[in-house]
């Protein structure tokens, strides 16, 4: 089971091979790619120059393994692989990749969506965005709307 935080470019084929078994004919993969346009806090789109991802590496991999355990509990005979990149990323580069293999495709879709949703809410990774709007530019830590927070 591939679970990793890495500063190297992500290799989706490696993850797919990791979850494709003789029993798992349905493979669903999610790839999150750096977009040029992202909404700012006011909801207005701003142009992204680059992103810088930072992780609490050991803890992030531990939480990702915990997501794999939750997937196994919920959906049984599935295989999951997840990788998240850290460091400097340019537009068009994949930041995160998730692959799920299952005997039936409905399960693979559900488990893959659960895994990326849970990753975005719970895995200790942070993203700094370098942006400009034309009138303004800056660098900001961008928070996921799914992010868990102490209330």
């Amino acid at each position: 089971m591939i679970i990793k935080i890495t500063d190297q470019p992500l290799d989706l084929q490696e993850l797919i091979a990791d979850v494709t078994t003789e029993a798992n004919g349905g493979v669903v993969a999610f790839l999150g790619v750096v977009r040029r346009w992202n909404d700012g806090p006011d909801g207005q789109p701003r142009e992204v120059h680059w992103l810088e991802y930072e992780a609490y590496k050991d803890a992030a991999e531990e939480v990702m393994r915990d997501i794999a355990r939750q997937v196994a509990e919920k959906w049984g005979l599935t295989s999951l692989a997840m990788a998240h990149r850290v460091g400097h990323l340019e537009i068009g580069e994949p930041a995160v990749a998730v692959a799920v293999g299952a005997p039936h495709r409905g399960v693979a879709f559900d488990a893959c969506e659960f895994a990326i949703d849970t990753l975005k809410a719970t895995v200790p990774i942070w993203k700094k965005e370098s942006w400009e709007t034309g009138a303004d530019m800056g660098q900001s830590w961008v928070v996921n709307k799914e992010s868990l927070q102490e209330s």
Binding site: G32, Y53, E54, A55, Y56, D58, A59, A60, E62, V63, H84, A95, V96, I116, L119, K120, A121, T122, V123, P124, I125, W126, K127, K128, W141, V142, V143, N144, S147, L148, Q149, E150, S151
Partner: protein, 82 residues
Amino acid sequence: MDKVKLKFFAAFRETTGQSELDWPLAAGQTAGDVLESLVVEYPALSGGVKSALVMVNRRYATRQTALQPGDEVAFLPPVGGG
């Protein structure tokens, strides 16, 4: 004196200027107690840490979690992965 290791990431790393710090731990202190003493030293953290999640030894914990000497403690800004 007993100590814990504090880890800082993202905005908190920038605010403190530190990635990690050894921090004194008195007997019976919780993660919340340590956070209070941290904010006294770094008042600029006081706004941000209100909503911070807590990890002890790389697992999610709470402000009520009792700490042991040598524990690795992190107060986490809201995450942005993916």
